[in-house]
């Protein structure tokens, strides 16, 4: 149950094999939903749940799925899960589902999901696939949260909507919130900085 291989499936996506910073997948939603922390966390959790469950389902079916139509089968499974998550969000966290708008639906096209289904779930048992899904989802969520932290703090001066920097004394000292932080390009630059930092600290990741 917790062999070395399973541990690897769970833990490497958080660091050395991070889907966003190393494989550079799922960038589009990382740009779109990270202007505030709360939606970023919800998005991270949603992707984690969907990746884990779809990995399990596909892994269970992997021997019966005809190879030629596997993408269609994978899409059907993912679409069903995404719809469930989207409905749950609308029912219990309406404000956030409004903020996330189409991006919950677009999880269907998230490259991380299809990538894990193709690369892992199609070849592995359900339990390792589940761990792999959790690991990749959390790896994705981790980057989203880091990016959203900086974007919300310096862009709006708040965290989770709680005022951090918007006080008169700060404004009188000449501080102004950085509007560029709220725009998508800055998410790219922050992701780039994380990749930069990570490669600088891991010799294995440096390209020859």
């Amino acid at each position: 149950m917790s062999s070395k291989k399973n541990k690897e499936a769970l833990l490497t996506p958080l660091g050395l094999n991070n889907p966003v910073t190393v494989q550079v997948l799922g960038i589009c939603s990382a740009l779109a939903v990270t202007a505030k922390l709360m939606p970023a966390i919800v998005m991270g959790i949603s992707v984690t749940i969907i990746t884990a469950l779809s990995n399990v389902v596909i892994s269970c079916l992997r021997k019966t799925i005809p190879l030629r139509i596997r993408i269609i089968v994978q899409l059907v499974v993912v679409a069903a899960l995404v719809t469930i998550v989207s409905e749950v969000l609308k029912a219990f966290a309406y404000d956030i589902s409004v903020q996330l708008s189409v991006y919950v639906g677009l999880i269907i096209t998230n490259c991380i999901l299809m990538g894990r289904l193709e690369a892992f779930a199609m070849q592995n048992e359900p339990w390792p696939s589940f761990l792999d899904g959790i690991g990749n989802g959390l790896g994705y969520a981790k980057i989203l949260i880091i990016v959203a932290f900086f974007r919300e703090l310096f862009g709006s001066g708040t965290l989770f909507g709680v005022n951090i920097l918007n006080y008169d004394c700060v404004a009188n000292a000449g501080y102004v919130n950085n509007g560029l932080m709220l725009m998508p390009p800055m998410a790219l630059i922050i992701v780039a900085c994380i990749i930069w930092w990570q490669r600088a600290h891991n010799k294995d990741l440096q390209q020859k």
């Binding site: 000449g174 102004v176 950085n178 509007g179 560029l180 932080m181 725009m183 630059i189 930069w196």
Partner: protein, 386 residues
């Protein structure tokens, strides 16, 4: 001079391989080559070197910027006293000194932050310190509004040098103009400090503006249908970024650049041609309701940053197109795009900055097609003979 040379020769061993300060080799090299032409030669192959190296080239550009800088200082003071309504009571030197006080800190911040990052990154990689920032450090203050907070200049300079230049490998590798990148960063990050009616006046918030004072730039006024006189804008006692207002001062700089051959006349001329063509076109076909479209084409050239961008930014040899034919297309599109953005997007009264950055991005593509066309032409010649 000799004493200085002797001093450098004395301390030099300490900075060479195995010396006490070998780590700071590139810092030492930067100062030494700044003062004297280096005497190092290549060890292999034939290299034809011009006496004018990169440092000397950069200094020519900085010299060409001096007229715009001095006029910018005077104009900053002039606009400040126009705001406070004291223009009649102050002398020329008081005006100039006020502007000097406003502009000098911006220059200092830009150079200190930029050079610190340049030196640190050269040090970290063991490169020589490159001199590209000598020009960028002067361009950055000239494209700032006079009342910009200093820390913003610092942040923008750091952003431009790190993300515009160092991540691509330093001077000569960047494909966006670093000074414009600094400006575009501030423009989108802190729009209230970079545009509008108050940003152009030094100490606007702490001093009371005179009654009935209107601070809009000629471009903003043109948007509202009021056209500033061509001659006023040409001489440049108008609100605007520090160095961009006076076409006269910029043209002196252009003359220096062209006379010494540092900037390409092809790029410069074609930017103006592009601007004139597009401005004229809008005069003919633009809607009568759009005041910017009806702005006479010659006014476009002297309003805002058009002149400054054409002379100092578009001609940057690193970020512009490098093929001779490509320069015409590159320049023409900059001029044309700048007018298109001005006329069709009321959100951006100034289009020059965005137009140049856009064409910077496309310059390698333009070059690619010109090089490819050349290759194809020669290939044809070969097959015919064979």
């Amino acid at each position: 001079m000799n004493a200085l040379r002797n001093f450098l020769d004395n301390v030099k061993p300490k900075f060479q391989e195995g010396g006490k300060f070998a780590k700071f080799r590139s810092t030492f090299g930067a100062f030494e080559t700044f003062l004297f032409t280096p005497n190092e030669t290549n060890k292999c192959g034939v290299h034809v070197r011009d006496a004018v190296d990169l440092k000397r080239t950069m200094i020519v550009v900085v010299l060409a910027l001096v007229p715009a800088l001095l006029f910018g200082m005077y104009n900053t003071g002039y606009q400040h006293f126009r705001m406070t309504g004291e223009l009649a009571d102050v002398t020329f030197w008081q005006i100039f000194f006020k502007g000097f006080l406003a502009v000098l800190p911006i220059i200092v911040v830009s150079y200190v932050v930029g050079l610190a990052i340049e030196f640190a990154s050269a040090q970290m990689r063991g490169h020589e310190v490159n001199e590209g920032f000598l020009v960028s450090g002067m361009l950055i203050p000239l494209v700032m509004p006079a009342d910009v907070p200093l820390w913003m200049v610092g942040v923008a300079t750091a952003f431009a040098v790190i993300f515009g230049k160092e991540v691509y490998g330093g001077t000569g590798m960047n494909f966006w103009n670093p000074a414009l990148l600094a400006r575009v960063f501030l423009f989108f990050a802190y729009p209230t400090k970079m545009s509008g009616e108050t940003a152009w006046y030094y100490n606007y918030s702490s001093e009371v503006a005179v009654d009935g004072f209107s601070g809009a730039t000629p471009l903003a006024q043109a948007n509202a249908g009021h056209y500033t006189d061509f001659c006023d804008a040409f001489f440049g006692l108008i609100p605007g970024s520090i160095g961009e207002t006076s076409a006269v001062a910029i043209l002196i700089g252009a003359f220096i650049l062209l006379y010494t051959g540092v900037a390409s006349w092809k790029t410069m001329i074609s930017v103006f041609v592009g601007g004139i063509a597009m401005g004229w076109l809008f005069n003919q076909i633009g809607s009568a309701d759009n005041a910017m479209a009806q702005l006479p084409w010659y006014n476009h050239l002297v309003y805002g940053g058009f002149c400054f961008g054409a002379v100092f930014m578009a001609t940057d040899p690193v970020t512009s197109a490098r093929t001779e034919g490509g320069k015409f297309i590159y320049g023409f599109l900059i001029g044309a795009m700048a007018i298109v953005i001005r006329v069709l997007n009321p959100g951006f009264p100034e289009g020059m900055m965005l137009a140049i950055l856009l064409m910077n991005t496309f310059a390698p593509l333009i070059d690619h097609f010109f090089v490819q066309a050349n290759i194809n032409r020669r290939k044809k010649r070969v097959t015919i003979k064979a």
